[in-house]
Subunit: 342 residues, 2 copies
DNA sequence: CTGAAAGCGCTAACAA
DNA sequence: TTGTTAGCGCTTTCAG
């Protein structure tokens, strides 16, 4: 009498047979349904252990219509794919998401949406049921992706307020508050000739920082702040600083919209023989790695990116569980990290 | 006569009905089976467009036993979760993987395995059929994860040779070759008092770089190279450089096992009034962001991480398609990136 | 509290 | 070439 070879990947059927119960009961035990006789429970658990059973998630998803996975979509302009993963910002967002989601036993799938077709595919990805919802991180303001998800009625949460008005949940930072923190620090140090290096005009966050900074300086009696624009790179920070030094040679305080530009400013200041922070105080934004690597180390405004990412994940999970709830948002406060430059 | 409301998410059944064909034919068209009458083809495609049909991937996976997704597993020591995503190395690996996989229409799922239970869960993740295979990136040498995957008979490919001997496919860098490149550059510049800052002794790559460097220097008549150990951080690079300056004050060439330590060395050298590259030549390894941000900018050894990541992905896809093929490996050559420091 | 049976949406023999 | 049919492995009414 030859027995059939044991199935290489046991099914619920196998577990049920080994445990001597029905498939339904086995399923109940495995899914933790409370109304099951402890004895059957034990039998099933033993059978699970013995067989090394792992529920087939495709079969499960097919009936529950849930996958237990979510997409982390990085939406950028064409060809931005390359550098995205080199950016520590995305690293921190990713880290925060991964860290929070794992407590729920779920792992994010990385979807790059750096072209219009890729954006459509990202939507289809969750439409096909490969994920229950999406976490959206945009690199540019006029991103159409949030709109696509809303239109498709798919659960999604944004990191940062949508550039285009869209009824969608999001988390964001109170950028103006951060900028005000910087302004107050500069004023408190006694700076009377303050300038700022702003980010690109089409990035909402950059705008908020500039506006917030100007307003705060105005409150402290310095309504006219010279501004130079950069694009968040160190080189652009160097260029902007050079420009500012020409426009306002007596400057004694600089607020840059991010650390990289602040680092560039530091370098130019040194080349011009201006000591930091003695002659010129410098404040950055983001509290990224360069802030700590520069000399003097940068005083900067930190955003709780990991917390924001965790909250974003939480909101998405909530929305998946309660699809009819209206969108909502959470705004986080930044804080000042005092170091040597101001 | 009331028609039933149109299904919010159309199924293959709906498409078939709209097209006036059988479900099987619809399926064939959608999966590109060649032996289908072009007329039916057209009808089905029209129906797909009209209904906005998207194949349900759970249903599909259930029968094909393939998910069309792969796991990118980051295996580290307990609690290394945090900083992993801040490390540009992982960013580049991730970028390379994502970029290659997307050409196949597949997106990697990020799985963090920073504890023994997390490692087991990572294995279960693909055992449950949530992914067809795994890309493994380890942060430490004695990682048990590769062994777990091999034992489970699951497709997996490693980035970097396994620390523990394991019959598994992997890609790696010819670290010795890179170190030799650095040695030759230093020798060619006329350095006669060369020292090196090595990485941790338990990291195979660090060992290979040290060994390769020593051997190459020996070939060029400098068999005794003073070595100080660091742990790949800038601080440890500073400490090591300080130490070396004491041990061998007349040194005129430094090879550091990574850029961060080289940047630290640069800083200490400047503090000691040694000009780089005039008095001391410095070479780093990795060609990471700090290499370009330091002043002078670092001459360094670059690894084709993205290419390696792409190849790793390719190998995994191959292994998934041909499960019985034996493991194999591909070793990539680094190249020297000449900048200002040497 | 447990089991029998239906069916999630799809692909793949097999027949026609 | 096309249609019919039988599951893939699981959850979930519905009876008992």
């Amino acid at each position: 009498m030859t027995q059939p070879a044991p199935n290489p990947t046991p099914t619920l059927e196998d577990v049920a047979r080994v445990a001597g119960v029905s498939r339904a009961t086995a399923s109940r035990v495995i899914n933790g349904v409370p109304t099951v006789d402890p004895k059957m429970c034990a039998k099933v658990n033993a059978a699970v252990k013995k067989t090394g059973y792992q529920p087939n998630s495709a079969a499960r998803s097919l009936v529950t219509r849930k996958t237990g996975s979510i997409a982390l979509v990085i939406s950028g302009s064409d060809g931005s794919a390359e550098q995205v993963f080199g950016d520590p910002f995305f690293g921190r967002v990713t880290g925060g998401v991964v860290k929070h989601l794992r407590t729920e036993g779920i792992h994010p799938t990385l979807v790059l949406a750096d072209s219009d077709t890729a954006r459509l595919e990202a939507v289809d990805y969750v439409r096909r049921g490969k994920a229950d919802g999406a976490l959206l991180v945009s690199t540019h303001a006029d991103d159409t992706l949030p709109g696509l998800f809303v239109a498709a009625g798919l659960p999604a949460v944004l990191f940062a307020r949508p550039g285009l008005p869209t009824p969608i949940s999001f988390v964001d930072l109170a950028h103006e508050v951060g900028a005000a923190l910087a302004a107050e620090r500069l004023v408190a140090r006694g700076c009377r000739q303050v300038v700022t290096i702003a980010g690109p005009a089409d990035v909402p966050a950059a705008q908020d920082r500039l506006t917030g900074f100007r307003q705060a300086m105005a409150r402290h009696g310095q309504p006219f702040v010279t501004v130079a624009y950069g694009n968040f790179t160190m080189e652009s920070g160097e260029a902007a600083m050079t420009e500012l030094l020409t426009a306002q040679p007596a400057l004694d305080g600089v607020f840059a919209a991010n650390d990289l530009m602040a680092a560039g400013a530091l370098r130019v200041l040194r080349e011009h023989g201006r000591s930091v922070p003695e002659e010129v105080a410098v404040i950055g934004f983001d509290d990224s790695a360069p802030a700590n690597a520069s000399r003097p180390r940068l005083t900067t405004i930190a955003q709780p990116i990991e917390d924001m990412a965790a909250e974003m994940s939480r909101m998405l999970l909530h929305q998946i569980a309660n699809p009819t709830d209206p969108p909502n948002c959470t705004i986080f406060d930044p804080h000042l990290v005092p170091r040597e430059s101001a």
